[in-house]
Structures are given as C-alpha cells and as structure tokens.
C-alpha cells in the first residue's frame, strides 16, 4: 500500500520502526499524564506516524490533531531505550502536513503570523509595542473584563504572556566584547529573537559573565533567527534557509557557539541533521553549547546571595541537549543559595515554543501543575534557561499571585557578580 508521506523529508522509516511498543515513554509524556490516552502518548503518536507511512492511515484532521497536541518536548527521547528519534520524526511529519496545507485555514494563519514575526526583530518589536500600547491604554482591562476576547483564546494567551512592564531599554551589545583575565577561547553569542527583545538583560549578563570566564565574545550583527520554531512547526525549508544564514554569519572563527535559549540551542545542534551533507553545518552543530555548560567550570568570584532557589529544566535543554547538571551546579555555586529540587522538574511547563499560543488549554493545564510543584518547594526564585519557559512561568506566578521571582540562571549569577567585582 502506498504510504501517506511523499518523498520530501518523510519521517525516517528506521526511526519509526525502532519503536518496540514497550511504553516506557508513557509516564514521561505530559499529554499522556493529563489525558491517559494512547493516541496522545509518544508510543501512540509513533504508531500513528508509522501507520501513515505504511499506508494504513491518511493525514486526516484527527491524525493532525493528535500530532499537534504533542508539545515536542522530547521527554520521550530521554525515556526511550531503543533510541527512537521522536523530535525528528515529529518535525518531518509536521513538515509533510504543513507543506500540503492539510491544516484548517485559521490554524495556518495563526502559525504563519507568529512565525513571520520571529526572524525579523523589527516586526517582532512592532508587534510587542502594539501589544504594550494595548496593555497601557486600559483597553486590556476593559476587554478582559468584558470577556470580549474569550472566543479568541489564542490572542488572550498571547497578551497574557507579556511581562507587565517592559524591560529597560538595553544598550545594544558591541560586536566584540573582549575576555577578562586569562583567555580561554572565543565564543559567538546567539541573541535569540525573543530573548533580545523581551530579555535583553539576559543577553547582556551572558556576555559579561562569559568575558569574566575568559572568553572573547563575538556578537555577529544581523545574525537572524535560528529557525527552531519553524522547524517545530514543520516549516522545514524556511528553517533551513534561516539555519544557513545563521551559520554563515558565525563563520569558523569561534570555538563555541553559545546560546542562553534552550530552544535555540537544541535546534542548532540539529543543523547537521537537517542540512544533510553539509560539513559546515556539522561543525557548527558540534560547537553549540548552552551558556551554563561554559560557565559551569569558570572560577568566578561570586558574592553571597541569601536565597532559596529552585530550577525548572527546559525541555529543550534537558531532553533536547541532555544538559541537566551544569545549570544546577552554577546555581549551587553561588554562596548562600539554597538549591531545592523541583518535583517533576523536567516535565514541560506548557510553553513549548508557540504551543501555548496554539493549544492554550493544554498549556494552561500543564502550567497549573508546574505552579503547584513550584509553590511546594517554598523557593523565592525559580531559575530556568529558556525565554518561553520564563514567559510562561512568570505569567503563571503573576496570575496566581505566587511570590516567586522567575529568572534566567545568568541573571542570578550576574547578581552574585556585581558591578564593583566586575572591575576587580
């Protein structure tokens, strides 16, 4: 029987067949935990993709629905003893769905709008500016109170994510920030679309801490977008174009490509796969590091911060890049910081790229679980290294009135290495 996939980037047959249906992934899957349904579990989704590949199923709306409900968190990959490359299978399948326009028009428009903003800092800035105006004008309260927006859950989800006050205008970072002290190497810093706009301090602190750790930091201008969200949404060709542009800008002069956004790091480590036989892409992917990995060994003169901190594992750091220890080590290294473990710290918070905008209901249920766990730690600070998680969890804390400060680990580290020590 002919399969439902065509020959352009179909999900890999061996990858699909590596699943032996053991079910070890089930309890690790956020949607399975909430729904208890086989078709909303990794094992069920692999089964659906395989059935489509074998011609037992077409790419029906129900098929698409079950794949869209997947967060792409890749917790199943961590669990899978047979090494099923779930993330790649999902992205390839979404690519097939996307390219053939098999989704309803309204969904295509929403995702097209979101993804058209991202790689263009100016467009994204305009959109965020408009949203802020809307917040400040008081319209927001009126609209919220009147529930006028209720049918437009996606728009509500979008506006609810924005922090109440804009970040202070950040001085643009220079193209080169030289290392301090003994030089350990040269890194290229990815600024990230959302990070640079909503969390410019995270980028500034990342650069400062890296120089303190002995790295020259290169920040290529016009570096663009890493394409992670396009990849997750199945816009594979767009993701490839962005990837090629990005890796060209970074050139070969850097020892490491550093990011402080887990989603970006995870996607960049996959360039070698998605760009096919491209040596440059492979080399680039092999140089990608999360900022926590480079700072974990640095000997920084940190000052005391008396805080109880808990840590949430971003999916694309813990599952996508297998980085779990380094951020914890960094936080625990700050004198006075008491690091308490968060139960289910590596279960998705519901952010998952633009998932919380596309599937707000499921995202909200996951967020509620995450907040419960955070409240149970009694920590005053939650640290996590991904802008999506930062926005999502901060929004949850705001709405629930939970007095927890939500910070990127480098922000906390930056506080422990204040201004005067910087020159010392």
């Amino acid at each position: 029987m002919p399969g439902a996939f065509d020959l352009m980037d179909p999900p890999d047959t061996d990858g699909l067949r590596a699943c032996v249906h053991c079910g070890i992934c089930l309890p690790q899957c956020p949607t399975y935990r909430l729904l208890g349904e086989e078709m909303d579990s990794p094992r069920g989704r692999v089964y659906l993709m395989r059935a489509a590949a074998e011609g037992r199923l077409a790419l029906t709306p129900t098929f698409i629905h079950h794949l869209d409900l997947c967060l792409g968190c890749r917790a199943c990959e961590t669990a899978c003893p047979s090494g099923v490359p779930f993330g790649r299978l999902l992205e390839a399948t979404r690519g097939q769905i996307e390219r053939r326009g098999a989704r309803p028009l309204s969904e295509r428009l929403t995702s097209a709008l979101l993804l058209s903003l991202l790689p263009h800092p100016r467009r994204l800035a305009l959109a965020v500016g408009a949203a802020r105006l809307y917040q400040r004008s008081g319209l927001q309260r009126l609209v919220s109170a009147g529930r006028l927006l209720a049918p437009f859950a996606r728009l509500r989800a979008m506006e609810a994510l924005l922090p109440p006050s804009p970040p202070g205008a950040a001085a643009p970072l220079p193209e080169i920030v030289p290392a301090r002290g003994r030089k350990r190497g040269t890194v290229g810093l990815l600024l990230g679309c959302v990070q640079r706009l909503l969390f410019p301090r995270v980028n500034a602190e990342t650069a400062r801490l890296l120089t303190r750790a002995g790295y020259d930091v290169l920040i290529p201008r016009d570096q663009g977008c890493c394409g992670a969200l396009h990849l997750h949404a199945g816009q594979i060709d767009e993701a490839r174009t962005l990837a090629v542009r990005l890796l060209t800008h970074f050139g070969r002069a850097v020892d490491w490509v550093v990011t402080n956004a887990a989603g970006c790091g995870s996607a960049m480590r996959e360039y070698g796969h998605w760009l096919g036989d491209n040596r440059d892409a492979e080399v680039f992917s092999s140089k990608v590091r999360d900022v926590s990995e480079l700072l974990a060994d640095a000997d920084l003169p940190l000052q005391r911060l008396d805080l109880t901190v808990t840590y949430h594992d971003p999916c694309h750091l813990a599952h996508g890049q297998k980085v779990r220890r380094e951020p914890r080590r960094l936080l625990a290294a700050i004198p006075g910081v008491k690091l308490v473990e968060l139960a289910d710290s590596d279960v998705c918070c519901g952010s998952a790229g633009v998932y919380n905008l596309l599937e707000p209901e499921m995202a909200d249920r996951l967020l509620a679980l995450k907040l419960e766990r955070i409240a149970a730690t009694g920590a005053g600070v939650l640290a996590t290294g991904n802008p999506g998680c930062l926005l999502q969890i901060a929004r949850g804390c705001r709405e629930r009135g939970l007095a927890v400060e939500v910070l990127h680990p480098v922000e906390l580290l930056g506080r422990a290495l204040p201004e005067r020590a910087r020159d010392g």
């Binding site: 070890i24 309890p27 208890g36 349904e37 659906l48 199923l57 129900t62 098929f63 003893p81 047979s82």
Partner: protein, 481 residues
C-alpha cells in the same frame, strides 16, 4: 460489527464525550499492547474515572452482548490487552489515585491504573516499598499487575503479585461490584482474591486493589559476575539455588542483550562477556555479608571473568535501569521480536540454555536472553524483521520450539507474562481437558455471558465464548486461538 450510534451515545452518557475514543485513528493506537504481533482494534475505548462508571459500562455491554477488553498501561507481552473480537476496551489510565496508605497496617489501597513504581515512590521516604517489580514497573499499572499476576526480578525472594494483593474490588462480567479479600488477612470462606489475581480480565475488571507494603531492607548488596559462557553462568545459578541461598534477585543477561542495553542505556554492563549474572542480596547487614561470601565462592567455582560489587546506590540504580529497560532496548538490535516466557525446574537451567542456543542456531535467528534465572523463568527475545517473511516464520518456529523444550523438561508454558491471546493453544500441553473445562466453568460464574476479554486465557473451545457473528480477527496467518 461497528457499534451503533445509539450505543456510542450511551457510552458517552456514562463517561462523558471526553471519555470515549471512537475515531479510527484513536482506536488504531489501541490495536495491540507490547506484543505487536497480534492486532485487533476495539470498536470504542472508554476511559472511566470511577468504579460506578466501569460497572455501568460493563452492564451496558452485557445487555448488548458486546465484548469488554480491560487495559491498563498496555505493556503486556502476550496480547492480553487488545481486542481480537472488537468490542469496548475499558482503559483504567484515568483511575490512578492512591486511595489510602495505611502504614501501621502495612498496606495501601489504590485505583487500578496507578503505575506500579509510583506507589513505591509515594512510600519510600517512610521506609516502605511495594515488592512486585515487573521490569515494566515504571509504566505498568497495579491493576494490570494484579490481573496478570505479574512477576519480576525481586519475586525470587518476595513472591509474585498474588502474594502481595490483600484485596480486590472487581466489576464482574455480570456487572456486579464485588469486594474480594481485604485488609484483614485471615478471612473465612473461599480465597476469591487468589482466583481473581491472574485471571487476565476474563472474570471481570479490577477497579481497586489493596496491596501489602513491605519495610525496606536494612542493607542491599548488588554484584555483577561476568562469565565467558552462558553455560558457566547457568551452572552458577543452579549452584546458588542448590546451596539454599535465596538472593533478592538473580538475573542472567547474555552478551546479545548487553549489547542492546549498553547502546540504549549505557548501564555499565561489561561488554564481551558471554553472560553476566546480576545478583542482589538484601536483608540484615550481617546476614548479607555472610551470604555474599558464599555467593562469591559459588561464582568462583565456575570460572568467572570478573566479579564486582556496585559501589553506591547510583551505580546499583543504573544497573537495574539497564536490566528493567532491556526489552525496551531491543529496538537497537531488530525492529521486531517475540518473547517467550517459559519455565523450567531450576536444576535444568544449564540444559535448557544449551537447547535455546541450539534452537537459535538451527533456525538462524538472533536470540537475546535476559531473565529471572533464579526462578528458572526464561525470557528469550527472538529477533526478526517483519519485512522478511522467512524470518517471521523462523522466529515463530523457534519460539514454539523453546516452549516445547521447556515442557519436556517438566516446566510450565508461562512464568509471569500470562496466557493472553498467544498461549491458550499451549495450555493443553500442560493441563488435562477436564481441568480446562473446570476453569471454564469457574469463568462462567463470574462472566455468565462470556463477554469478558474473549479469546484470552482459556482455549475458546473450552469456554464456548459468545463471539459475535462478524466479530473481527486480525491475526497473522498460522496463528489460531
């Protein structure tokens, strides 16, 4: 025979629209459990949240003569949780609460969908654990464990699931809610709990389980003994058992499965050894120290390549992770497999392992061995690729031959995985026809219309199940039930 709209509406009235899966795509994902060889999708899947809902579902199916197939986490390896005749599958995954933990009386009452390991996780800080530990314990449900009377590595010392179930709440095939056994252990009358445990959903569906909790042992010692050959390892196992030592667990892993484990999990098993024994001793510290010396001597008698003891809890946990996820890692070796679950008297272990190797050579199939050696319970995983029809045939033949070889040595057709859809045909090798008839009559008492999990556990000629006309079967050619 698809269900009528009216029937689907009635299902929805019981569990709500969000509790019914009726789409072809959704149903397809329920067409098999971990035994992917047999496929049969239910006509609808229901996900109840209470005993009352389960009872209402069963009564509705009883009224219409529709088969009912219970399913927990779908990790069975014998085709127990799939629907060869269609019908309504009742999934217990949304009934997963711990209802009561009663530590002074060392027991807990849970809903059937609770994941096995989650119970131990809930009580381990208080120094307790739930002993039955099937390798799937990180995902399989306690209701499923009770229904299949699951075993596991530590059952060598602690006993199998039936030894740990104090009481059950069951919705019978007649639609009644009955409570069997209970917290108090000495009860008059028939041991109905013992009958229901291991009944594989053919008497009814478990909706509540009261289980024993045990105190965690004072000390645990876990060692790996590597041997050049399967033979040496098997002889060692027989030696340890014959010496009267009961380790907490005594597992054998061969070179093939270690390759899969190390590729998939990286658990630290030695590569290159022909076979490795994972030996765990637990109990009072002084006792296990003395036992450890004896076990080391017994290993030394069979030319070990290496004996090492896990240095800390992390290393021990990793070794167990490797062992318990071994079957899941088999995808590293081949896309398909069949898993035999036969038993031999433990003194016959070296002999049967030689036969297994001969069978593998004869049929030119790759067989990975990872099993509860201390119980004499084999688990040869026979690898194949279902795109190669000749490989499929050879794998099936090898699988049957292993079973016959075990029975010839005085063994049993199943150790712990159950009978399911795969083995009713083999029961007559072990039981007289009159014994099977008697079991079928017992089944009728609980399930008068034969709606509960038809096609499973007993040969259908013994039970005359009410299989609806037009009921579908999606079985590979050559299989019969």
């Amino acid at each position: 025979m698809p269900l009528t709209r009216q029937f689907l509406r009635e299902l929805e009235q019981i569990v709500g629209p969000e509790g019914v899966v009726a789409t072809p795509e959704g149903r397809l994902t329920y067409e098999c459990d971990m035994h992917t060889f047999y496929k049969g999708a239910p006509d609808a899947v229901c996900l109840p949240t209470s005993t009352e809902q389960v009872a209402a579902l069963v009564r509705l199916c009883l009224r219409e003569g529709v088969p009912v197939v219970p399913r927990g986490s779908g990790t069975g390896v014998i085709g127990g949780a799939m629907a060869p005749h269609g019908g309504v599958m009742i999934s217990t995954t949304r009934m997963n609460r711990i209802l009561e933990v009663d530590l002074p009386n060392r027991c807990a009452t849970v809903e059937p969908g609770l994941i096995n390991l989650w119970l131990t996780n809930a009580v381990k800080d208080q120094g307790f654990f739930f002993a039955p530990d099937p390798s799937s314990q990180m995902v399989s449900s306690i209701g499923g464990n009770a229904s299949t009377n699951a075993g596991g590595p530590h059952c060598l010392k602690y006993g199998i699931t039936v030894n740990h179930v104090l009481g059950l709440e069951v919705v019978t095939g007649a639609g009644e809610v009955v409570r069997l056994g209970g917290k108090v252990q000495d009860r008059p009358g028939y041991d109905l709990t013992g009958i229901a445990v291991g009944s594989e959903g053919t008497l009814g569906i478990v909706t509540g389980v009261t289980v024993r909790l045990l105190h965690a042992p004072e000390a645990v010692k876990t060692a790996l003994a590597a041997f050049a050959s399967l033979d040496d390892a098997s002889e060692t196992v027989s030696g340890i058992i014959a010496a009267g030592i009961i380790p907490a667990a005594l597992e054998l892993l061969d070179e093939t499965i270690i390759r899969a484990i190390e590729a998939g999990i990286g658990a630290g098993y030695p590569k290159g050894a022909g076979a490795v024994l994972l030996i765990e001793l637990d109990g009072p510290r002084a006792e296990i120290e003395a036992q450890a010396l004896r076990v080391t001597e017994l290993c030394r008698a069979h030319r070990p390549l290496d004996i090492r003891v896990a240095r800390d809890e992390a290393e021990r946990a990793l070794l167990w992770k490797g062992r318990k996820e071994a079957a899941g890692a088999i995808g590293r070796l081949a896309p398909n497999w069949v898993l035999q679950d036969a038993v031999v008297p433990r003194s016959k272990l070296p002999q049967i392992m030689r036969e297994v190797q001969a069978i593998a050579a004869q049929h030119q199939v790759l067989i990975a061995n990872v099993f509860h050696a201390g119980d004499g319970n084999l688990h040869p995983l026979i690898c194949f690729d279902d795109r190669q029809p000749d490989q499929v045939a050879r794998a099936i033949e090898a699988n049957e031959q292993v079973l016959r070889a075990c029975l010839a040595l005085g063994g049993s057709v199943t150790g712990e995985h159950g009978v399911g859809l795969d083995k009713p045909k083999s029961l007559s090798l072990q039981y007289a026809a009159s014994d099977l008839e008697f079991m079928a009559r017992l089944r009728r008492v609980f399930d008068p219309k034969g709606i509960m999990n038809p096609g499973k556990l007993l040969p259908s000629h013994a039970c005359g199940e009410a299989v609806r006309p037009g009921g579908k079967m999606a079985l590979p050619e050559g299989a019969w039930v």
